[in-house]
Amino acid sequence: MHEFDWSSIPGSLPFLWQGMKVSLEITISAVVFGIVWGTLLALMRLSAIGPLAWLAAGYVNLFRAVPLVMVLLWFFLIVPHLLESLFDLPRGADVRLISAITGFALFEAAYYSEIIRAGIQSVPKGQMAAASALGMTYAQAMRLVVLPQAFRNMVPLLLTQGIILFQDTSLVYVSALADFFGAAYKVGDRDGRLVEMLLFAGAIYFVLCLGASRIVRHYQNKLKTA
C-alpha cells in the first residue's frame, strides 16, 4: 500500500502559486480576447453581407472540429517562428505564454461566438425595430440596445465557458509551460511524490471550479427572478 506523504506541499507553495498565476493569466486573457473576437464573429455571422457571414461560419466550424490540444501545439510551433521573424526577438526568448494565450483565445472565440450569436438571437426582434425607429443606426442599435441585453442573458454561459477554459489551461503541458498543473507535476516528479501532488492539484481545481460554478448558479437564479 502506498503511504501518503504530503510534506513536499508546504515548501513548494510559492512555486505552485507561480503556476496558478500562469493558469489565471491564460484564462483571463483568453476569456477577454475570446469574448471580443467571438462577438465580432457572431456579428459577422449574423450580418447580411454574405462573404463576412460565410467567413465567420468557416472559422467557427474549423475550430470546433479540431481538438484543442492540437491547436495549442500548432500555435506553440508556429507563433515563436512568426514572432521571431516579425520582431527580431532575442534568441531563446520565452514566447510560450503568448503562444498559449493566442491559441486559447482563437479557439475559445469559436465557442464564445456561438454563445453570443444565440444570445443576440434571443433578444426580441422588436427591440432592433424600436431602436431603428428612433433613428439609431444598425451599429448604435446593436451596441446600445441589443448587445447589452444579449450579454446580460449570456453571463452565466460565458462564465461557465470560462470555467471550462480554466480547466483546459492544464493542456499547456504540451509546451512544457509551468501552469498550475505543470508546476504540481514538476514538484511531484522532483520529490517522487507525483500521486500526492496530483491529488492536491486536483483538489484545488475541484474547489475553485465548484465555487465558481456555484457563483454562476447564484447569478443565474437572480437573473431568473429579476
Binding site: S132, A133, Q140
Partner: protein, 242 residues
Amino acid sequence: MISMNKVSKHYGTFQVLAECTTQVQKGEVIVVCGPSGSGKSTLIKCVNGLEPFQSGEIIVNGISVGDPRTNLSKLRSTVGMVFQNFELFPHMSIIDNLCIAQLKVLGRTREQARDKGCRLLDRVGLGAQAEKYPGQLSGGQQQRVAIARALAMDPICMLFDEPTSALDPEMVNEVLDVMTELAQEGMTMMCVTHEMGFARRVANRVIFMDQGRIVEDDSKEAFFEHARSERAQQFLAKILHH
C-alpha cells in the same frame, strides 16, 4: 406629409402589399383597420423604411423612403413609431429610455434630454416613474412611456401599430386618451387600430385593408355610414357588435 404611390411588396410569390396608394396631409389622423394578416403592420412599417418594398414610391416630408441614397436613420429620427408590444428597452430606466436616442441620435446634451424627457413623462401622467424600469410598470403605463419616448424626438408625424391590442381592457383608455390629446394638438398620425370609438372621435379618414389591398379610403363619416365593399361591411358588423 406622407404620400404612397402604388406600393407593392411580396415575400416570394406571396403578395403582402398590392399597389397601395394613399395620402396623409399635415395634421390629419388616419386610422388603418382590416382583418389580421391583411398587411396593416407591413404598410405602416414601410412608411419609415423598417420594411423594404419592391415597387412603388413613398414620400415622407419630401424625402423618398425607397431611394437607396436616402439616409433612413435620419428619416426615422423624424418619424415617431409606437409598437404593439411597447418595445421599451428593459435594461434602461424609464428616463434613460426617453433620453438615449435624444443623446445618441439628435446629439442633445444630457440636461436638454432629461428636461424634455421629464416634461413628456409628466404629460403622459408618469412623472413619478422616471427612475423605475419598464418591467415595474403596467402595460398601459409602458405604452404611454413608449409614446413619450417617440415624442421626445420631436417627430413630424407619428405611426401607431395596434398600440392597445396587447393591453388588458381596463388599460386601453389611458393610452387612447394620450393619443386623442395628441391628435387634438394637431399631430399628423397614422394609426393601425381596431378601436372604432377612437376612429369616430378623432380620425379624419379610415383606410380599410384586405389581402394587401387598400379596399376603402374614405372620410370616417362615409366609412361608418356606408362602407362600399362587402368585406368592410362584414368587418364593421363583426367589430361593432361584440
